[in-house]
Symmetry: C2
Subunit: 558 residues, 2 copies
């Protein structure tokens, strides 16, 4: 699955780096200190005691085989806008130039060097996201300081830019951006290749009570993807079609999006492509989902033949070839939009009553000597075949594994959700697995406090290294019963960031000690960082997620 | 107070326009119709039955004395991005070109002409915001259609651009932006000159229970200002200093912002200037507030002499000259930032117990033969003198009027908030007035449904035209006890828009008929428009404001 991960990273500094597991321990919640918090915690780093100023006219020096990358150049511009949000005045320049230490440039850091070793910009599962970041005062030879990111791929460079941006903070006294605790030597790489956020409209397991779903405008989806990059998440799982709404344009079957709730609540092919392209610029893959056969009632709005009958509309009619022709057409059209090698075929929560109660389907079952359970298996495997024929690796929700594990295509990635203990079983049988235990990683469960999300461990119960490697990562899921464009970001954040650190950072580094001391202050800081960047991350400390602030206080302690 | 409003508008079409008061009546909540909703309702307009397509490469032709305006050019670019959010493909161009009516350009509207009569870009109270907008198919002489905005000032042109953007909607079938119900002839102007939104950190009237306040990052404030322009609001009332937090940099008294909650939760002079400039580009004035003497405890963090004593910190020490020197210094520094002619001096909720219980203040009162009530008056009038000396028109909360109306400087603008009936009294005494009755226009009152906000009438109880003219407008107030960066927009919207239509549109047009038919569908539509533009406007129909959606449904019916 990995295109670049086998290449050894060339590290431009060779000192052995001490591991610091307790960055935050030395920080107090006394916010008058100079703190430099990073989220998620890098795998290896050292810091010092210097304070360096950063030039608002910071320039980019991009080199290496990937030295002409538009992805890195645009990211540099984005991060520059973030870093220098609050400093614009030339007065600050003059002030520092005159008053400070007489540096020729007026600032310690005037240039960010980024070295990208490869010009391969294909973004796939397991792409090399490692990077080294070095920020220091002059080394005695040059008169100015140095900030350098080295990475094997442009995507590693993006992660390094995010870390660099978090090292920079605006100092209101000197009116300049400062890097505290320099020199910084950071060598970083993700623990898991798959670090996802799912966005879906309906959580059917509670649909009896809520049965709500909400269209999210393209701009809102882009904002979510942008914010994911701040936490170094790298897979946007787009549960684009569901039970009651089919918003996506499918040119092969143009009547399908008649299943959209209104004619304004739709996505064109261009919209979807734009989202994929926007995500790639941020090093984020888009994994689309077509959830069959259970969650597909909306398909019949345009093509009623897909329903077993007009009065019994779900699951999709297993007895008709047309059903699989449409699936094949949808997947063919979507293949042009979604280059990611993983494609999600759903397969969850299939209630086969309609198949039994609809005469022509019942007849078909008898003709084929199938039980409804066997027909469910038949449907899922046929959908897998279609996806595989289009060069996709199929992902299925765990019900498929729980029901007919031995029949699943061995390529299948099992997507856990119902509870703990599924990934251990899946990897024991040789399947890859994605961890999304709903008890801790379903963001629509508003009563899950941040620390439960944080301490959830995808490898729990898996001891053998060969099996651990089959857990490709995890995903937090944002089902939209009670979330729409007005509140989806405050439902996602900050808890998604708790999972993001779990998925990125070294297990030992974030699993020992008292997280109230080691993680919580950094978590507060990161939620305020999101707020500063315009992301509506909710207060950390409320008992229920996404509640308004209840008492007095700074962002940094709420 | 008006710089431009006396100029008669030159109307480029001379037909007598019929008044349509019931735009929305003909629209059903059936969302499958082609609707064209406008919010706020223009003062005069006619529409037809044509559907026109708009070129994604829409060009701007800007002429008149204001023809070189950067304000209009940048606004055109912003609105173009909004209008064409969802259409990017050239395929749509080809499709329409081939299939449709064989227009040479492929689209009906390829150019937007904007004529701005004046090159005066000063933005003050009463600036001419009127505009005419004409969108039609070709008139028989030219082969293509026409879209023209004419305005006396650039700010009128901005309002016309907003209306034009609301006429444009993306049609997912043809993949093009369409204007339905053309030809449109719109002649529009605001009913009130002052249409405000206040953003403040603390509502002291409930502070006993909550005592909370929250710093909002600069980006969040900009997003709020941007969203105000969508509803044609034009005054951002920035209650920047309060009880517990002094986030603003004051160069003359640099220790003042030590009263900020943390060193990161501050605004530099540059930040404030940037906000003023950002607002002006959108035709929005920024009215700053320095709330004295009651809401100023935070000032003493840097200068404890401003407190009567270290144990009794509020109101500001009336007995010291230093107090008024600091006020004068703050206002002198703020004058360089805030060009708007109105400046808010607060004056509300003054509890003078500290003055009575602090020996040196008590002595001063005796020496000057003053009661504490007289000292309160002395303080407010002295602050007014300072503001007036800096060429500002003072605004004060209604307590000052309620307590010593006859002593107030006759220039004073009385800012109502405690309840109904105050503006009638104020204008009867010759004062100007701003309406903000907390029972209907305080957005932090979450139990006020949209229709109560909508039907609140600033001129209620004022019958004489000469007195009505003294009501310069109204303002919705967003006090931040339970609102921070995570939820402030969903607390403001959509209800602020209900007040915005009250303040913009003709009273007769929006005060008759059944608003459930005439206004509610347009209100739903406008909230979804805000969502599409990335504004977290909450569902309309919840009993409490800013609650999550509770049931199934499209944005357009929630």
């Amino acid at each position: 699955m990995s295109l670049n991960s086998s290449k050894p990273i060339t590290i431009f500094f060779t000192a052995i780096l001490a591991l610091f597991f307790t960055l935050a321990v030395s920080f107090s919640v006394d916010l008058n200190q100079s703190l430099t918090y990073l989220w998620p915690l890098p795998s290896q780093f050292t810091s010092g005691n210097d304070t360096l100023s950063v030039d608002p006219d910071l320039s980019l020096s991009l080199s290496g085989n990937g030295g002409r990358s538009r992805i890195v150049k645009e990211a540099f511009d984005r991060y520059k806008a973030i870093i220098f949000k609050q400093s614009s005045s030339r007065a600050a320049y003059v002030y520092i130039k005159n008053v400070f230490r007489g540096l020729r440039s007026g600032y310690d850091i005037t240039k960010l060097s980024i070295i990208v070793n490869s010009d391969n910009e294909e973004l796939q599962l397991g792409v090399d996201e490692s990077y080294s970041l070095f920020v220091a005062k002059n080394n005695g030879q040059s008169i100015i300081g140095e900030a350098t990111i080295e990475a094997n791929t442009v995507f590693g460079a993006l992660r390094g830019l995010e870390t660099f941006s978090q090292l920079c903070s605006f100092d209101f006294e000197t009116k300049s951006v400062q890097v505290y605790k320099a020199p910084w030597y950071i060598q970083d790489e993700p623990r898991f290749a798959f670090r996802g956020l799912m966005l879906g409209e309906l959580n059917f397991s509670v649909a009896i009570e809520y049965t709500s779903r909400h269209y999210l405008p393209v701009d809102v989806i882009k904002e979510i993807i942008e914010s994911m990059s701040y936490a170094k998440l790298n897979v946007f799982h787009w549960h684009i079609l569901d039970e009651q709404s089919f918003p996506l344009e499918v040119p092969s079957y143009p009547k399908l999006w008649q299943g959209a709730y209104t004619k304004w609540e739709r996505y064109t092919v261009d919209d979807a492509s734009e989202i994929v392209s926007f995500a790639k610029m941020r090093g984020i893959n888009v994994m689309a989902e077509v959830d069959v056969p259970g969650h597909a009632e909306s398909w019949g709005a345009g093509y009623p033949d897909l329903w077993p009958s007009p009065t019994c509309k779900e699951p999709l009619d297993v007895a008709k070839n047309f059903t699989f022709e449409v699936i094949s057409g949808i997947l063919a059209d979507m293949r042009k939009i979604f280059p990611f090698e993983l494609f999600h075929l759903g397969g969850d929560e299939v209630n086969t009553d309609c198949w039994n109660s609809t005469p022509h389907v019942k007849q078909w079952l008898q003709d084929h000597n199938m039980t409804t359970k066997e027909a469910y298996q038949y449907f899922v495997l046929k959908a897998q075949e279609i996806a595989i024929s289009k060069n996709w690796t199929p992902v299925n929700w765990e019900e498929t594994f729980n029901t007919f594990a031995t029949k699943l295509n061995p390529q299948t990635v099992v997507h856990n959700w119902l509870g703990p203990g599924v990934c251990p079983k899946a990897v024991a049988k040789g399947f890859k697995c994605i961890y999304s235990n709903q008890g801790v990683w379903y963001l629509d469960h508003l009563d899950v406090p941040w620390n439960n999300t944080y301490t959830a461990e995808p490898l729990e119960g898996i001891d053998e290294a060969s099996q651990q490697e089959l857990v490709i990562g995890g995903e937090v899921c944002m089902w939209g019963e009670t979330a729409d464009a007005s509140n989806v970001q405050q439902t996602i954040w900050p808890r998604a960031a708790a999972a993001a650190e779990r998925l990125w950072s070294r297990r030992e580094a974030i699993s020992t000690g008292n997280i109230t001391l080691t993680a919580l202050p950094r978590f507060h800081y990161f939620r305020c960082l999101l707020n500063r960047r315009g992301v509506q991350a909710a207060p950390v400390d409320n008992f229920y997620a996404r509640q308004p602030p209840t008492g007095a206080g700074s962002c940094y302690v709420q």
